[in-house]
Amino acid sequence: MRTVAFLMIAAAFVLTSVALPQTPAPASGDAAKGKSLFLKDGCYECHGTVGQGTKDGARIGPPVLNVQGLIRYVRRPAGAMPAFTEKVITDAELTDIYAYLKSISPPKAVKDIPLLEQLK
């Protein structure tokens, strides 16, 4: 379990930090549908319901990749994340999920969150 956790953290690093080839994004998805899929298909299990990231999954909300980068990663993840093939989730559904992640507001700065600022 600890090994898995470590590798998932490694995956998180890859997902958030490596610049994948940028290709034009497809038509924008439906954020409401995407949220529903994000919860139904279990994405939230590792990434949290607002994509905030956990010890088992990268922070993906809001995403740093474009939609093609996200789809490419989901199909062939580099770390411990399981691969989700087209048989279980379509590009259109992933585009909806991307729209949901994109709709998530960035957090306030740490200095503006007193509970965290006091921890500095």
Partner: protein
């Protein structure tokens, strides 16, 4: 009437026409009368009930005669000195503060002796609702107090309940002292129940994961084995031990021949095994010469002295400490905490690391094809391991992990070895080396500061989310604990380690690590046991409680309420066995089907469990379920007031999965 202990009841002659069993029936009847008197309702109520029931039948002439005439001669079976009184003396000599038990007939003699002959003090009896709770409470208690709690259980069904908790303690190197009741001599088993609750070799079921056991056949034997068991349990590597208390030995009088002769042997604890001086000198040479040493801490700090020594060694060498989180090894805000890299280290000093192979190697993750392993250390890196586990090993259960190749293996207790290692290093450090160490330390301090900033930024994501983020729960807790003397008595692996990333852990009792063998059901009772140990120090104990874990034996909440054990429990209520949910999700992805069905068999919802109501039912203050993060701070404040006045409290929080 005293009966010789080695005399079978079938062959012994009792001159009584009533006999012992008859006496017991009589005693039971007498007790019933007493109970009836105590419970007698007020006269008016009694009259009303009488009227409802009709007239009471008058006793027959035979009954009247039996109750008014003097009985024929009866030998009343009493004793001034049951064997269990002597057992209690032995137990008391070992310094137990508490004895945890779910009551059982096979140890009723010892039970009675401890509460009456022993005055229910040192040890005081803790009423437990499950033997797994008894053992796990002792597990948590020992990690704070540094010594075992006594447990009593049936040698059969009680031990079966207790077994997983014993395995956890075994894998976690924690001393737990278990006394099992059993009726060894079949001629003393009075009913089918006593036959079903008797066993030929009681400890055999747990022998694979205990350090030592015995089944004494006399009181003198019991005394020696009891003291020996304590000594063995407390010698590193510390482990659970089992002692069988034969029911006949407990209940029958101390034989006349033994009176005046029985004595409690003297206990002399062994000094923990320290490393060989030559090996320590070699380790010091390697560490002082190293350019990039890394210290990996497993169960390194058994006591506050271990933490202090590790800080001294790390600061002396300016070497980063990677904590495997099995114990409170190193202050979490120390500049050397968590830094460094296994891959860049030229010398790695491992201290009591049970999963050393995992710390120094990687394997193909579950979702990738094949099964390859890769060494994480760079070529030529030297590995030193100080490990008491090398002094004691069993084969069946595989908690020892994969074989780790090391360059210098020191079979010894790390905490006991550290002072000599520190002195050996001091002798070798030149002014040049000291300057190099200082430069190295400054680098790690900067890296550690960056890690902390990154953690705080990460905590800000989802901070206002509902369900509430685990970072938010941790920050809210710290906001109210920071000025208190606190102790986190739960594992936080499933909480994304947020407390360890945010709070200031610097005392040994601030953290106690986790299960040992990852046997779920440990957390709730272990936190109660640890909180009990913290109680006399006035510390506020905090348990971040996984919902799945609590449901194994929630009755421990009643034990906490009944014994007024101050403990703040904050539910990590993600409504699932979430680790398993993720694994099933992995399998569904691999099989390319049903990725929306992984919650079947893993979720704990529909209906949702109301933990606040559960705690209330067990007699505990509670609040929740709380799903709005804004409500959390006030709820923690209210619950802490309850804990500060010496009682447990529970807050049900709907949380993010991790």
């Amino acid at each position: 009437m005293a009966r010789s202990q080695n005399t079978s009841p079938k062959t012994s002659q009792n001159t009584s026409t009533t006999g012992r069993r008859g006496f017991l029936k009589g005693a039971a009847a007498g007790a019933a009368v007493l109970v009836a008197d105590v419970a007698k309702p007020p006269a008016a109520l009694a009259q009303t009930q009488q009227a409802q029931r009709g007239p009471t039948p008058q006793p027959s002439a035979v009954q009247a005669a039996r109750e008014t005439n003097p009985p024929p001669h009866v030998d009343v079976y009493t004793t001034d000195r049951p064997g269990s009184d002597f057992m209690a003396e032995v137990v008391k000599s070992l310094g137990f503060e508490y004895v945890a038990a779910n009551p059982g007939s096979s140890f009723r003699g010892l039970h009675e002796s401890l509460i009456n002959f022993g005055g229910n003090k040192d040890p005081e009896l803790l009423t437990c609702l499950h033997e797994e709770s008894s053992v796990a409470m002792a597990h948590g208690y020992a990690k704070i107090e540094g010594k075992p709690m006594l447990i009593m259980a049936h040698g059969t069904v009680g031990l079966q309940h207790a077994s997983m908790a014993i395995y956890n303690a075994y894998a976690d190197r924690v001393p737990v002292y278990i006394v099992l009741g059993n009726i060894q001599d079949e001629t003393w088993r009075r009913s089918d129940v006593e036959w079903a609750h008797s066993v030929q070799d009681a400890a055999s079921m747990v022998r694979d994961y205990t350090k030592w056991d015995d089944a004494p056949v006399s009181l003198a034997h019991f005394a020696e084995s009891a003291v020996r068991a304590y000594k063995i349990a407390m010698t590193p590597p510390m482990e659970p031990v089992v002692l069988v208390a034969d029911a006949v030995l407990q209940e029958e009088p101390v034989p006349d021949a033994d009176r005046g002769k029985l004595r409690v042997p003297k206990l002399s604890l062994s000094t923990p095994p320290a490393g060989d001086s030559g090996a320590i000198a070699e380790a010091a040479k390697m560490l002082v010469a190293a350019e990039n040493p890394v210290i990996v801490a497993g169960r390194a700090a058994r006591t506050p002295a271990g933490l202090k020594s590790l800080v001294e060694l790390a600061e002396l060498l300016q070497a980063p400490v990677q904590d495997r989180r099995f114990r409170m090894n190193f202050p979490t805000r120390h500049a050397l905490y968590g830094g460094g890299s296994i891959g860049e280290a030229d010398v790695i000093l491992a201290l009591e690391v049970p999963d050393l192979w995992n710390a120094t190697n990687s394997m193909t993750p579950v979702n990738k094809m094949g099964m390859e392993t890769k060494r994480l250390t760079k070529p030529g890196a030297k590995l030193i391991h100080i490990f008491a586990g090398d002094l004691f090993a069993k084969s069946n259960y595989q908690d020892f992990g994969r074989y780790a190749e090391v360059d210098l293996s020191i079979a010894a207790d790390a905490e006991a070895t550290l002072p000599a290692l520190i002195e050996a290093c001091k002798k070798l450090i030149t002014a040049d080396r000291k300057r190099a160490f200082t430069d190295r330390g400054a680098k790690f301090a900067e890296a550690t500061r960056k890690i902390r900033d990154r953690d705080l930024e990460q905590a800000s994501y989802g901070f206002d989310a509902s369900p509430i983020s685990t970072a938010r729960v941790s920050a809210e807790l710290w906001n109210q604990l920071k000025g208190e003397d606190w102790s986190l008595v739960s594992d936080v692996t499933f909480f994304s380690y947020w407390p360890l990333r945010l709070w200031d852990f610097n005392k040994h009792y601030h953290y106690i690590g986790g299960h040992g063998a990852y046997g779920v059901g440990y957390q709730a009772p272990a936190s109660v046991g640890a909180a009990l140990a913290n109680r006399k120090h006035g510390r506020i104990s905090v348990n971040i409680q996984c919902d799945g874990d609590l449901n194994y034996a929630p009755g421990v909440l009643w034990t906490a309420a009944h014994h007024k054990i101050p403990l703040l429990t904050v539910m990590h209520n993600n409504r699932a066995y979430h680790q398993e949910l993720m694994y099933v999700q992995d399998m569904a992805s691999r099989a390319q089907r049903g990725i929306d069905r992984a919650r079947i068999g893993t979720s704990i919802s529909d209906p949702n469990i109301d933990y606040a109501m559960m705690a209330k039912a067990y007699g505990m203050f509670s609040a929740g379920p709380i799903s709005d993060p804004k409500d959390l701070g006030p709820a923690i404040k209210a619950a802490l007031q309850v804990v500060k006045r010496g009682e447990p409290a529970l807050i049900d929080v709907l949380t993010q999965p991790r």
